[in-house]
Subunit: 106 residues, 2 copies
């Protein structure tokens, strides 16, 4: 299994609507990708490693798929629709990473 | 539920032993923290958002706990032992983040 992490840097003055992201954008991603998206998770940044230190990322999602190819086949045909929704919740540019899930949730 | 993400930047020339991290270090963290660590996951970086682009992080773990306080109480007494093991798998300094789990794995 692989995961695609989409991580929004926690920049001062930037806009990020956590409610829209959770309630509208991520369900749209799942609807568009169908079974290619096995499931997804969403995080809201609380802090960095030290108390009071800002979180590196204000919000993140992780999209879990059987393979990189499964992600590309599921996401590609809907990329324009999904990307077109981004301005509705943020003006940030995300950092993206594909990872192999070495240890998953038990 | 919260998660503590420990993310190792993918720097050229750095050392990261994925097998040791999976087989020795993360089980040590779980043993030391006991029930305070509900579970953990481990990722291995494959690529960035574009094919062939390097992954931002070579490896990551995510430690899931009931609360930030539960993490601190579980990790604090063992911090020296856990940190003392880091040199066995890497010479990298991790980026750390505490996040609220807004949407967890179904």
């Amino acid at each position: 299994m692989i995961k695609v992490s989409v991580m929004y840097p926690n920049l001062a003055g930037a806009r990020f609507d956590h409610a829209y992201y959770r309630d509208k954008h991520m369900p749209l991603v799942k609807r568009a990708m169908g079974e290619a998206c096995l499931f997804y998770t969403v995080d809201k940044g609380l802090s960095g490693g030290a108390p009071g230190e800002p979180a590196p990322y204000v919000g993140m999602c992780h999209i879990f798929c059987e393979s990189v190819q499964a992600f590309q086949e599921g996401f590609g045909p809907h990329a324009r629709e999904i990307r077109g929704d981004i301005a509705n919740y943020t003006d940030l540019q995300p950092v993206m990473q594909f990872s192999e899930v070495v240890v998953g949730q038990p």
